[in-house]
């Protein structure tokens, strides 16, 4: 649908923890053939430190977004945090981040869970609030410290990172939302039960009936509603559980590789779940030219996909340099061993105090 009152991205920011674990190290430890990470197109992944979580990473990304927006944080009237790795089972992360940023106390604030697409839904809520005049600015964050069972193929990609977007009036925006739709069904492709440390996944569901079906459905719906085709878009950004899926789903939809590669981040970062497509979008915004049109499609297991059409505006260029870019964060890294990874991600179980 096209929003009534026009809304856009006023600011955006990302966070990628500097620690990186190479896929070849995971492969050699668990006895995977080197072809396995190559087949997924994953080279290394970002690892949050033991004292980092969805709150600290989301806060960092949000502060960069506020800086790019050039707004007073007390004017933000909604904080949505999309995550499947919140620090508390009960106690919102959005309130901690909101107070730490100095966001208004007159606000909506909630944590949202829909596997990897809750951050995308947060942006939709932000658009709805801005378009209906109920908020001037809304902050939507996607942040995760993704878990994986040691030795599971998921461990190659499960990574940590965050992205934050400030949605506000189109007149102030660096990019405008032209249209957005969401496609949702009940699909058992991936889940984690209460109290379970690692997720389970329904092998046969993870590809075609989940990722591909939902993204293709949402993108086709969006293009039909807006009367647009793949040729009308300059970039296409998809959720990236690995490096290969976004290229494949793009090909099925008729987007050439050249329009997809600029938004690919997972091979050097891993799958940051709620951060994944939104960090890819940030990377594209940081190189896009005014007037260009960007397609973004999230995916969350369970399952659903949001498709957005975004048109870049003149003020984009001046905002890019106000905070660290995705490229800069990708370059800023230190390699760690599997042992250090195990310590930081609390995979080692250690008795403390007898």
């Amino acid at each position: 649908m096209r929003p009534e009152r026009r809304a856009g991205i006023v600011g955006w920011g990302t966070y990628i923890p500097p620690r990186r674990l190479k896929a070849e190290e995971i492969a050699s430890l668990w006895g995977f053939a080197p072809e396995v990470p190559k087949g997924l197109w994953i080279e290394e992944k970002a690892v949050a430190a033991v004292d980092e979580d969805a709150v600290t990473m989301g806060w960092y990304a949000a502060r960069s977004a506020i800086r790019r927006a050039g707004i007073d944080p007390s004017k933000i009237e909604a904080v949505f945090v999309g995550t499947e790795s919140k620090p508390y089972a009960v106690k919102p992360s959005a309130t901690i981040i909101g107070d730490a940023l100095g966001v208004s106390t007159r606000k909506l604030a909630t944590d949202m869970e829909f596997a990897c697409r809750a951050g995308g839904e947060g942006i939709r809520f932000g658009i709805a609030l801005v378009a209906s005049g109920q908020a001037r600015y809304a902050l939507a964050i996607g942040a995760d410290t993704a878990q994986a069972n040691p030795g599971d193929v998921l461990e190659f990609t499960a990574a940590s990172g965050a992205a934050a977007y400030i949605v506000g009036p189109a007149e102030e925006a660096a990019a405008e939302f032209e249209g957005v739709v969401t496609y949702v069904t009940d699909t058992p492709d991936f889940w984690r039960r209460e109290g379970s440390r690692y997720p389970g996944h329904g092998e046969i569901f993870t590809g075609d009936p989940a990722y591909f079906h939902h993204i293709i459905s949402s993108v086709k719906m969006l293009m039909t509603e807006l009367g647009l085709g793949p040729d009308d878009f300059d970039y296409a950004v998809f959720h990236q559980p690995n490096g290969k899926f976004p290229l494949k789903v793009g090909r099925k939809l008729g987007f050439p590789k050249e329009k997809i590669l600029p938004g690919i981040v997972t091979p050097w970062l891993g799958n940051t779940y709620n951060g994944s497509a939104l960090i890819g979008l940030a990377k594209v915004l940081e190189r896009a030219e005014p007037g260009q049109r960007i397609l973004v499609a999230t995916f969350g297991s369970g399952a659903g996909s949001d498709a957005f059409s975004i048109i870049v505006k003149d003020s984009i260029k001046e905002r890019v340099k106000k905070a660290p870019t995705v490229e800069e964060l990708l370059q800023s890294k230190v390699y760690i061993s599997y042992g250090e990874y195990a310590k930081h991600r609390r995979i080692l179980y250690r008795n403390v105090g007898g």
Binding site: D51, T56, D99, A100
Partner: protein, 136 residues
């Protein structure tokens, strides 16, 4: 160990980086106090500290109390004239006196009741990823 009540009372004040400048002796006081600890004056003006500063000194605690990461590094940095003490949560490999630090939100510990505490913490920056005029 900090209590839940004490954390709740102080965290917003700490996180906002609000400080006082003493009109009599010019010292900057963080966290804010009712009177200047240097000269006793109550003639204070509220300011907000910059998020970037330099390390004055630091210490490495290899045997921290339960709930803190191991090792725990505590540093004192100068931020806009104030001496601010906080935990170093990132960039410990660049830690030297006079190193540049950025204040970030750090998960620095956990109370015995299981409450995480998020406080201003230091990220030591190597200089490369710093932006010009990046002081807010």
């Amino acid at each position: 160990m900090t209590s839940v009540q004490r954390l709740w009372r102080r965290s917003r004040e700490y996180l906002s980086l609000k400080a006082f400048r003493c009109r009599r002796c010019g010292e900057v006081i963080y966290p804010p106090k009712r009177a200047c600890p240097y000269c006793g004056s109550r003639d204070l003006v509220e300011i907000t500290l910059p998020r970037k500063g330099r390390i004055i000194t630091y210490t490495v605690i290899n045997v921290p109390i339960e709930g803190f990461s191991k090792p725990t590094i505590i540093a004192v940095a100068e931020l806009g004239g104030a001496k601010v003490m906080a935990q170093v949560v990132e960039g410990a490999e660049h830690l030297v006196e006079d190193a540049e630090v950025e204040v970030v939100l750090g998960k620095v510990g956990r109370t015995v009741e299981g409450l995480e505490y998020y406080m201003p913490a230091f990220r030591v920056v190597s200089g490369k990823d710093l932006k010009e005029g990046d002081t807010d």
